[in-house]
């Protein structure tokens, strides 16, 4: 899934990857691949993560991982960091989700009564990145669909999600709802349709697998 998600990154993009993802996705990009990774706590040009022994105590990403710089990295304050996001300079972000609606609404920050630590920078990333991709399990721990006709949880941003990567498939959010793009090896169209809480349009002909 991560390897497939890395294909979403086109040369020259400015990209913000959710907590834990950068290292995993970056491993799938070549050393000469031109891309700028952004973290909202104030760095453009994230370099490799460090083990504690070699870490710089002043250099973390927004998830708290000890990262590094690369030639051409730049630090800035939190206002400039989100100016970049809100003014349309962030080409792509990859986020987690509790729920995604068939209209592309995203809920990923609050479960009333259970989980409400605050949205952090998630709202701005979801609302303002030029392209929002969600990486998530297809269903929650109880087996309920995360892809739904409408979100039941407080939303993060409306109509923001372009594409969802799950353990079962790659699904686009289109003007007419969810559309299956690719399916995981070993999963049948019936299974993914069953596990999806809204209509899922299947592609004509063979369905590519990943």
């Amino acid at each position: 899934m991560v390897a497939r998600a890395a294909d979403e990154i086109a040369p020259g993009m400015v990209v913000n990857l959710g907590i834990g993802l950068p290292t995993k996705v970056v491993d799938h990009l070549g050393p000469d691949f031109p891309v700028c990774l952004h973290t909202e706590n104030g760095l453009a040009g994230i370099g490799p993560t460090h083990p504690p022994e070699t870490a710089d105590r002043n250099l973390i990403d927004a998830g708290g991982a000890y990262v590094s710089t690369i030639p051409g990295s730049a630090f800035f304050d939190s206002a400039v960091s989100f100016a970049l996001v809100r003014s349309g300079r962030l080409d792509l972000t990859m986020l987690g989700a509790f729920e995604v609606s068939q209209h592309g609404d995203l809920a990923n920050w609050k479960i009333p009564g259970k989980f409400s630590p605050g949205a952090g920078g998630g709202i701005e990333l979801a609302q303002k990145a030029r392209r929002v991709i969600v990486l998530t399990t297809h269903t929650d721990r109880a087996g309920n669909p995360k892809l739904k006709e409408a979100c039941s949880l407080p939303i993060t941003a409306r109509g923001c999600v372009a594409r969802v990567f799950t353990d079962m498939g790659v699904i686009d959010v289109t003007d007419t709802g969810f559309a299956l793009v690719e399916i995981a090896q070993g999963i049948t169209p019936a299974e993914i349709t069953e596990a999806t809480g809204a209509p899922l349009a299947l592609p004509k002909g063979d369905i590519p697998t990943f």
Partner: protein
């Protein structure tokens, strides 16, 4: 003609913070958090504080000490997920918590520092964060009014400072520090290193001295900065 000197003592600097004060505190996670100023604030013990900070740090670090000591009445923040005590106190009604989108908290503070009344944004306009917020149409587009934030005191952590209070921050320890260093009636900076006037390149100063009221030079670095073994 020379630039004024602002070096003071830790005790004296923090003594301006009384009961009921609003206090901005720099830092995103560990980097840039003024741990020594926070410890002194705990030692001096003013109560009923409004704390404005991106996060609530983690257990036994930074702002958490102020929660343990019961000095915090209100927390204006963006995310407290790494501090279970903050969440428990919020759920128990022991502290009031106001959540902001992270970049909007940054902009509200910056607006305060820039002498503005507020900003107009569409961030969160479809979410519950916009409930009860004033709205306005500009050129036919709907925006939320987010008021400017100022505080009685700002506590910031710099890597280097000169006696005039010019500050430079290190790497991602910059975060909210330069914004808060403009947005309080009294700005107190702790600095890891004091350098002579003129040692900071005039092009590379992050917070210009005129914004800073008092400078505390750190004799030793808090152990709370230590790299975490995860």
């Amino acid at each position: 003609m020379k630039l004024p000197d602002k070096i003071g003592t830790l005790e004296e600097a923090v003594s301006c913070i009384g009961d009921g004060a609003s206090v901005m505190i720099g830092g995103f996670g560990v980097p840039g958090t003024p741990f020594t100023l926070i410890r002194e604030l705990v030692r001096q013990g003013p109560r009923d504080l409004t704390i404005i900070k991106n996060d609530a740090n983690e257990a036994d670090m930074g702002v958490d000490h102020l929660l343990v000591s019961g000095q915090v009445a209100r927390l204006v923040t963006t995310h407290i997920g790494l501090n279970p005590r903050a969440i428990a106190m919020m759920n128990a009604g022991e502290i009031e918590v106001e959540f902001n989108a992270q970049g909007i908290l940054a902009e509200r503070i910056r607006a305060g520092g820039a002498g503005l009344g507020g900003i107009l944004t569409d961030i969160g306009i479809d979410t519950e964060l916009a409930n009860d917020k004033q709205r306005i149409n500009v050129d036919g587009k709907a925006f939320i009014v987010e008021s400017a934030l100022r505080a009685d005191v700002a506590l910031v952590h710099a890597d280097r400072a000169d006696p005039f209070g010019n500050l430079a921050f290190a790497a991602t320890a910059r975060n909210f520090n330069p914004l808060m260093a403009m947005a309080a009636a009294r700005v107190i900076a702790e600095a890891e290193q004091l350098v002579p006037l003129g040692d900071l390149n005039a092009d590379d100063v992050h917070t210009p001295g005129p914004f800073v009221d008092e400078l505390v030079v750190l004799n030793e670095l808090s152990e709370e900065y230590a790299v975490v073994q995860r």
